[in-house]
C-alpha cells in the first residue's frame, strides 16, 4: 500500500513541505492530487467542494499544477514556446504570435528573478535552467496550488536561493505550495508547515515552530520500523582490503570521493534517487567519464577505461534497472547466464553441451524459477530476473560486485533469497558494494555504510553506528552530530 489513512491540509499562501524516504508515498500523494492516480478510498475537498477523485483536466481546471522530478519538455523548441505549449490561451489559437510569446515569457522570468534567454532552445540549456523553465511553465498558468517535487535536486546554492524566493513570492499571492525536498536547510527556510511520511503513513507534523527544528528531530520521526522488516544476516570473517577508490571526481567541481572495500565485506552505499549514487558506480566501472580518480585492487592500479577493462579486472555492475541495461530480454535464460563468461568455453566456439549444463546448474543452485532454460528471460518474474543477472556475473567469476538497488521491485521471498546469496558470496571472499535507498536492506546487510548526498560522502558509519537515524541524518544534511 503506497498511502494509508493519509490526511493532508493546505491553506492558501502556505508552503507545506512533505518529507520522507523514497517509497514513503510522497509521489503517490502528489499524483492523486494532480489527478494521475485515483485513491481507493477517501476524498479531496478543494475550496469547499468534495471530490472522490480528480482527473488531470479537472485538477488543471482548478489550478493545480505539478512540476515533477522527471518532467519532459520539448528540446527542439525555445524556452518561451515550451512555457506556453498546451496552455489555456494557446489552445484557442491556430497561429502563434511569437512576439507575444517571447515577451510574456521574458516578463514572467524577470518577475520571478530568473535570468534566462527565452529564445534559446530548451535542449541547449543546462539542467538548472531546464528546471527553471519547468517551474516557469507551471507559474505561467497562475496556479492556485503549486506542487514542486524535489525542485532543487540539480541545483547549487545560489540557484536554490532563487527557487526558494520564487516559492515565497508565489505563496505571498495566496497560492498554496506543496514542496517535496530532502534538504533540511532548504525546508527550514521555506516551510510554514511540515508533514513527515513513512511507509505511506503520516508520522509527524510540525506547524509554526519550524525554525527550532534540526535534522536530529526530523530523523527521529522518520525512524522506527518493525523488526520483521530486517533481514538477519549471518556473521563471517572479513579479510583484507580489496578494492580501493581514490580521489574519484565526477566533474571538475565535485568533491573527491575516497573509500575502500575489504574482501568478504558488504559496503552499503546509502543514497536517495538523484544523490549521484549510480553515477559513482558507473564511474568506478568505467561506463561514464571521470574527471579524476584511481581504482585499485590488492594495491594494484586497475582503473578501467571502459566496462571491457572493468570486467577483465573482475568487477561486476548489476544495474538498477535490469530490464533497461542488465538483461537481454529477447534471449533465452541460459544465454543470459553465459553471455559475459562466454569465452571461458573457448575463445571462438561455444560448447553447447557444457553451456546447457552450466546454466542448468545455476538455475538449480540459485532456485531460478523458469519453465525451461530456453524460455526468453522477459517472461520471468522480477526476482528471478535479478537472480539471472547475478548468475551471469558469478559465471564470469567476478571478485567485486557493485549492485545497484538489488531488490527493487521484487517480492519479499525473492528478496530474502537475494540476501542469502549476497551473504554467501561475501563469505566466499567477494567484495560487495551495495547501493540502496531501502533502509532495512542497508542496515541489515551492510558491514559498513557510506551515506551519499549531492555526490559527496556525507557520513561513514560502521558497527553500531549503522542506524536508521544516522543514515537519515546523513540524507538530510545539516549539522554533523
Amino acid at each position: 500500500m503506497a498511502l494509508d489513512q493519509f490526511c493532508f491540509e493546505l491553506s492558501p499562501g502556505e508552503v507545506h513541505c512533505l518529507i520522507g524516504e523514497n517509497g514513503a508515498g510522497k509521489s503517490t500523494f502528489i499524483k492523486i492530487l494532480s489527478g494521475v492516480y485515483s485513491p481507493d478510498s477517501g476524498e479531496l475537498i478543494i475550496e469547499n467542494k468534495r471530490y472522490e477523485r480528480l482527473t488531470t483536466q479537472l485538477a488543471r481546471g482548478m489550478g493545480i499544477y505539478t512540476v515533477y522530478q522527471d518532467d519532459v519538455l520539448v528540446p527542439q523548441i525555445s524556452v518561451a514556446e515550451n512555457i506556453y505549449l498546451g496552455s489555456k490561451d494557446m489552445k484557442k489559437k491556430i497561429f502563434m504570435n511569437y512576439r507575444t510569446v517571447y515577451e510574456n515569457a521574458e516578463t514572467l522570468a524577470r518577475h520571478y528573478g530568473i535570468a534566462l534567454d527565452v529564445k534559446e532552445l530548451y535542449g541547449n540549456l543546462n539542467p538548472a535552467d531546464q528546471q527553471f523553465t519547468k517551474i516557469l511553465k507551471a507559474l505561467a498558468q497562475s496556479p492556485r496550488i503549486l506542487v514542486l517535487d524535489e525542485p532543487t535536486q540539480v541545483f547549487n546554492v545560489t540557484e536554490t536561493d532563487i527557487i526558494l524566493n520564487i516559492v515565497r513570492k508565489v505563496s505571498e499571492t495566496g497560492t498554496g505550495v506543496v514542496y517535496i525536498a530532502h534538504d533540511l536547510d532548504e525546508i527550514i527556510r521555506v516551510a510554514s508547515r511540515i508533514t513527515i511520511l513513512r511507509d505511506g503513513k503520516k508520522v509527524a507534523a510540525y506547524d509554526g515552530v519550524i525554525e527550532e527544528l534540526d535534522s536530529s528531530i526530523l530523523a527521529k520521526d522518520m525512524v522506527g520500523r518493525p523488526v520483521e522488516l530486517f533481514y538477519k544476516k549471518k556473521k563471517h570473517n572479513i579479510g583484507e582490503i580489496g578494492l580501493e577508490v581514490k580521489n574519484l571526481m565526477l566533474g571538475s567541481t565535485s568533491t573527491p570521493i575516497d573509500f575502500s572495500v575489504r574482501k568478504g565485506e558488504i559496503l552499503g552505499i546509502a543514497g536517495l534517487k538523484g544523490s549521484g549514487r549510480s553515477a559513482i558506480a558507473r564511474a568506478i566501472f568505467g561506463a561514464i567519464n571521470r574527471y579524476s580518480g584511481q581504482i585499485l585492487y590488492d594495491g594494484i592500479d586497475i582503473t578501467p577505461k571502459n566496462p571491457i577493462e572493468a570486467v577483465g579486472h573482475g568487477l561486476a555492475y548489476l544495474t538498477e534497472d535490469k530490464k533497461a541495461d542488465g538483461l537481454f530480454l529477447s534471449m533465452p535464460v541460459y544465454q543470459n547466464i553465459t553471455i559475459v563468461g562466454l569465452s571461458s568455453f573457448h575463445r571462438f566456439l561455444i560448447k553447447m553441451k557444457s553451456e546447457r549444463d552450466i546454466s542448468n546448474d545455476y538455475i538449480g543452485r540459485m532456485n531460478i524459477k523458469t519453465a525451461d532454460p530456453n524460455q526468453e528471460v522477459q517472461y520471468l518474474s522480477g526476482g528471478n530476473q535479478q537472480k539471472v543477472v547475478i548468475a551471469k556475473w558469478l559465471f564470469k567469476n567476478a571478485k567485486i560486485l557493485i549492485v545497484d538497488e538489488p531488490t527493487h521491485g521484487i517480492d519479499v521471498n525473492a528478496k530474502t533469497e537475494v540476501y542469502d546469496l549476497f551473504t554467501e558470496l561475501a563469505a566466499e571472499g567477494k567484495s560487495i558494494i551495495m547501493i540502496s535507498s531501502e533502509m532495512p536492506e542497508i542496515i541489515s546487510m551492510s558491514d559498513r555504510v557510506i551515506v551519499i548526498r549531492k555526490c559527496e560522502i556525507s557520513r561513514e558509519l560502521s558497527g553500531d553506528e549503522i542506524t536508521e537515524y544516522n543514515i537519515l541524518a546523513g540524507y538530510l544534511g545539516g549539522t554533523n552530530s
Binding site: F285, A287, P307, I308, A310, V311, G312, Y317, T319, K323, A324, D325, G326, L327, F328, L329, S330, M331, Q335, I339, V340, L342, S343, F345, H346, R347, F348, L349, I350, M352, A371, Q375, Q378, Y379, L380, S381, G382, G383, K392, G409, I410, D411
Partner: protein, 324 residues
C-alpha cells in the same frame, strides 16, 4: 509495480507450435504455393525447375544472409545491392583491361570488405542511423560504378563463367555457394561466441556495453564480414549475367531486407532465425518462378510481390499485437 510477469503462452503440441512461429507459417505458404503451381503446370516440380529457382535466388539469398545477420545485431545495410554491383563492375573492367581473373577476384574481395568496414566504422563511431548512412553510401557506390563504366553496360565476353554457369555433377556451383554461405552463417550465429555477442548487442546494446562486450568492434567487423560476403555475391552476379551495368545490384538490398522480414527477422534485433530468412528468400523465388510458369504478366508480378511483403510483415506482428 514493475515486477509483473508476462504470461508465457501455454505449451501446445509440436504440430500446432509449428504454426506459432514465422518459420511454420512460411513452410505452410511455400507448400501451398508449390501445390497450386504444380496443379497449374506440372513442370513446376521438375528437378530442372527446382535447380532453376535455386539458381535464380542465389545472389539474393547470399545477400539476405548479410542483411539478416546485420538486422539481428540491430543494424542494417541498404548499400549491399549497389556494393555487389560495383564489385561486378570493377571486376569486369579489370578483366577487360587485361588483369588476370585471380588478381581481380582478390582485389574486389578486399575492396568489398573494406567498404563494409567503412560503413561499420561510420555507423558505430558516429552513432548514426544505419539506414541513412548506408543509403547514402549506396548512391556513392552507384556513382563510382557509373564513372568506371562511363555509364555503359560492360560485357565479360564469355569469360569467368565458372561461378555462374558451371556444375558439379547435376548441381550448379551457384547453388552450392549459396547453401555453403547459409550453413556457415547458421553455424556462425549459433555456435560462435562472436555470433552470440552480436545477437546480444542487437538485443540490448546498453546491457552489452555494461557486460564488457566491445560493442563497436563487433559491429564494425560484422559490417566487414557482410561486405566480404557481398563481394562474393557480386562475383556470382557478374558470372551469371556475363555482363554488368552500374545499377545491376540496385534492387537487391531492398529485396534482401524484404526476404529477411518475411522470414520473421525484425528491425528491433536480438532475435530472428536464419532458417526463416532462408525460407523467406525461397518463398520469393518460388513465387516469381510460379508466376512466370503460370503466365502472370510481369506488371502483375510486381504488385503481387509487394503485397506478399506487406502481408508477411503484418503476420509476423500478430503475435505482438495479441500480447498487448
Amino acid at each position: 509495480m514493475d515486477n509483473q510477469t508476462r504470461v508465457k503462452p501455454p505449451a501446445a503440441s509440436p504440430f500446432f507450435s509449428l504454426f506459432r512461429s514465422q518459420t511454420g507459417y512460411l513452410i505452410l505458404v511455400i507448400i501451398t504455393v508449390t501445390i497450386i503451381a504444380t496443379i497449374m503446370n506440372p513442370r513446376f516440380l521438375s528437378a530442372r525447375n527446382i535447380f532453376n529457382i535455386m539458381q535464380q535466388i542465389s545472389v539474393l539469398g547470399i545477400l539476405t544472409m548479410c542483411m539478416a545477420l546485420l538486422m539481428i545485431s540491430g543494424n542494417l545495410d541498404i548499400s549491399i545491392g549497389n556494393m555487389a554491383g560495383l564489385v561486378g563492375m570493377l571486376f569486369t573492367r579489370m578483366v577487360l583491361t587485361g588483369r588476370s581473373q585471380g588478381i581481380a577476384v582478390i582485389t574486389v574481395m578486399i575492396l568489398s570488405t573494406a567498404l563494409g568496414l567503412i560503413n561499420g566504422l561510420i555507423i558505430s563511431k558516429s552513432k548514426t542511423t544505419p539506414l541513412i548512412i548506408t543509403l547514402g553510401m549506396s548512391y556513392v557506390y552507384y556513382g563510382i560504378a557509373l564513372i568506371i563504366s562511363n555509364g555503359r553496360p560492360q560485357s565479360l565476353g564469355g569469360e569467368f563463367e565458372f561461378l555462374g554457369r558451371a556444375k558439379i555433377g547435376p548441381v550448379p556451383i551457384t547453388i552450392i555457394i549459396y547453401i555453403l554461405v547459409f550453413i556457415l552463417a547458421y553455424l556462425f550465429r549459433k555456435y560462435s561466441t562472436y555470433g552470440r555477442r552480436v545477437n546480444a548487442i542487437g538485443g540490448n546494446k546498453e546491457a552489452a556495453f555494461l557486460s564488457g562486450i566491445n560493442v563497436d568492434s563487433h559491429i564494425i567487423s560484422l559490417y566487414g564480414i557482410s561486405g566480404m560476403v557481398t563481394g562474393l555475391a557480386g562475383l556470382v552476379l557478374i558470372s551469371r549475367l556475363g555482363m554488368v551495368r552500374a545499377d545491376s545490384g540496385s534492387n537487391y538490398a531492398l529485396q534482401a531486407l524484404a526476404a529477411a522480414i518475411i522470414g520473421g527477422i525484425t528491425f528491433e534485433g536480438g532475435r530472428g532465425s536464419l532458417v526463416g530468412a532462408f525460407l523467406g528468400v525461397l518463398l520469393l523465388g518460388i513465387m516469381y518462378n510460379a508466376m512466370n510458369i503460370i503466365g502472370v504478366s510481369s506488371y502483375m508480378q510486381t504488385i503481387f510481390l509487394g503485397s506478399v511483403i506487406v502481408i508477411a510483415t503484418v503476420i509476423s506482428n500478430i503475435g505482438k499485437l495479441k500480447k498487448q
